[in-house]
């Protein structure tokens, strides 16, 4: 059942991707684009299959890193958003700092993080967290701000506490917005993990990719990208499924009216 639905939902995008791949394959052959510049999909596939044992561990390492980072980033993001929402004065003071945090170039932060936290997993998680938490914070804060005023009015009239208003109304009302932020964060988490490997790692797709790049193996670079993309798509689909499950009642409500 479920698999059929997934195919029905994503079938058309498979078709589009297939078309792109065909077009790509054709162009590389017609214009004889050299492999070092843009390898043909078949070349990438061959290398992906042949090199599997070599990068398997890279893949696992990056996946773990991305998931850990996303989890922490989302938790921190939600927490920050909620705290800021409940304490408007703190929000006004701290919000600009959040924006600033997004503008510290990682190459500058990297040495400091390594110096403070060593070459372990800690500084990498910090980098991913930094990348992931911002979309969650912005989306959640905006979602919380836009609660239905009529329902808010009712809650206030009957004397709901700030906490109750938050839990029973604002948070649930903001859920769609939160998921919107989550989708953005989830998408960034994998790239965040790859970037975080620049902080010095001995394995990971990022490492594999820079190695491939510096030894001019463009086909391997593309194998790395393909895996990054697949990883990212899986994450996205998981988030979307979660969204559909959680917001089921509401979606149905809307559908009926269509």
């Amino acid at each position: 059942m479920k698999r059929n639905r997934i195919i029905a939902n994503h079938g058309s995008s498979f078709v589009v991707i297939l078309c792109i791949l065909l077009f790509w394959q054709a162009s590389t052959q017609i214009f004889t684009i050299p492999t070092w510049l843009l390898p043909a999909p078949t070349v990438i596939l061959t290398e992906a299959v042949a090199g599997w044992p070599n990068y398997q561990h890279h893949l696992i390492s990056t996946t773990k890193l991305a998931l850990l980072g996303l989890f922490i980033g989302v938790s921190v993001g939600l927490l920050v958003a909620i705290v800021l929402h409940l304490l408007p004065k703190v929000k006004r003071a701290v919000y600009p700092l959040l924006i600033l945090s997004q503008n510290i170039p990682i190459i500058v932060l990297a040495p400091l993080l390594v110096i403070w936290f060593g070459f372990g997993v800690m500084p990498k998680v910090i980098v991913i967290t930094l990348v992931c938490f911002f979309p969650i914070v912005v989306a959640t804060l905006d979602g919380l701000r836009q609660t239905n005023p009529e329902l808010m009015h009712y809650m206030r009239m009957i004397g709901a506490s700030k906490q109750q208003i938050f839990l029973k109304l604002e948070f649930l009302h903001a859920l769609p917005a939160i998921f919107s932020g989550l989708k953005i964060s989830g998408t960034y988490s994998v790239m965040g993990a790859v970037i975080s490997e620049w902080l010095g790692a001995n394995q990971g797709i990022g490492v594999y990719m820079t190695l491939a790049q510096s030894s001019f193996r463009t086909d391997r670079v593309f194998v790395a990208i393909v895996y990054i993309m697949i990883l990212c798509m899986i994450l996205f689909v998981i988030i979307q499924t979660l969204e559909k499950t959680w917001l089921k009642g509401r979606e149905k409500g809307r559908m009926e009216h269509e």
Binding site: V114, I115, N202, V207, T210, L211, S215, R217
Partner: protein
């Protein structure tokens, strides 16, 4: 800190300057053949990421690093406690390269051509130094910043010549069958024949753990000896450690580099005061340094095996 008591082994770390390549072969050979172990060292080779090794080494986060004479010189001027303890390759193997069909055979031909660089002032100083030898002026060169764009890509677009390390990029061109013309820096100017790359450590290591430095360099030195005498085997060891590298490139590069590591020096790793002086003065004269370098602090041969 850093001492692994249980096995009586001392842990040390070394941060590379770039992704692993044939400049680092000696390290991997020493690791693979147990030279480090013989010295009681447990060595952790760390890939650096974008920002290089120097800050990690200087801050003591890592014990050793790979750098270049130029970087150490600039770092010392900024009071960064970085010390070069061995030259991995005696001479400067870099040069300005262009495909043959660009028709560039000497620095005089740079005039009215486009140079692709990364925008550092030192590049135009190098160009100027070479061109002056032939009474040409660097002002006639179109200098274009190509950022991280790689060598082969750059030539596809407007760029005529680029600064490369022959041992890696030049060899890759050979592997691909692209014929290059290269004007090596050290062919035109003695001042530019500096050591690159070099192994660095920090002042704290020198003060507190000079023994460790000695043991480390002794092992590394054996590693590079092997790389000099048995390039094919060493290349294979490097590939075993870093299988993601391209095998053809590594082997070819290793063979090319074998006699460059030590070159005409009396021993691998030896650094020459003249070389350090020449280059620092050249930089100073070209306004690339704010003050004079104290050579004695910048490098030492004291820890190389006797």
């Amino acid at each position: 800190e850093g001492i692994n008591q249980t096995e009586g082994m001392e842990s040390v770390s070394i941060v590379l300057d770039w992704t692993p390549n044939t400049n680092h072969t000696g390290l991997y050979v020493a690791e693979a053949k147990g030279y480090f172990e013989e010295e009681g060292l447990d060595v952790d080779i760390i890939l650096p990421g974008e920002s290089g090794a120097d800050q990690f080494v200087a801050s003591g986060q890592a014990d050793f690093g790979i750098s270049s004479q130029q970087a150490v010189t600039e770092a010392r001027i900024q009071d960064i406690p970085l010390v070069s303890v061995a030259a991995i390759i005696q001479n400067n193997t870099s040069g300005f390269a262009s495909p043959v069909d660009k028709g560039i055979s000497s620095p005089a031909d740079y005039a009215n051509r486009t140079y692709g660089g990364y925008g550092a002032p030192i590049e135009s100083a190098f160009l100027g130094a070479l061109m002056e030898e032939e009474n040409a002026s660097v002002d006639d060169v179109e200098i274009m910043n190509i950022g991280n764009t790689d060598f082969f890509t750059a030539f596809e677009r407007d760029v005529d010549f680029i600064w490369i390390y022959y041992g890696w990029t030049g060899i890759e061109a050979e592997v691909r069958g692209i014929e290059l013309k290269v004007q090596y820096l050290n062919e035109y100017s003695e001042e530019l024949d500096y050591h690159t790359p070099v192994i660095t450590t920090n002042e704290r290591m020198i003060k507190d753990k000079s023994e460790v430095i000695k043991r480390f360099l002794s092992a590394v030195s054996k590693g590079y000896q092997d790389a000099i005498t048995k390039p094919e085997e060493s290349a294979s060891l490097l590939l075993d450690a870093v299988p993601d590298l391209d095998a053809d490139l590594v082997h070819a590069s290793q063979v090319w580099l074998a006699d460059k590591y030590q070159a005409d020096a009396e021993q691998w790793g030896i650094q020459s005061e003249t070389v350090w002086n020449n280059f620092a003065n050249w930089m100073l004269n070209n306004d690339l340094l704010d003050e004079e370098l104290d050579i004695q602090e910048a490098f030492t041969n004291d820890y190389l095996p006797q």
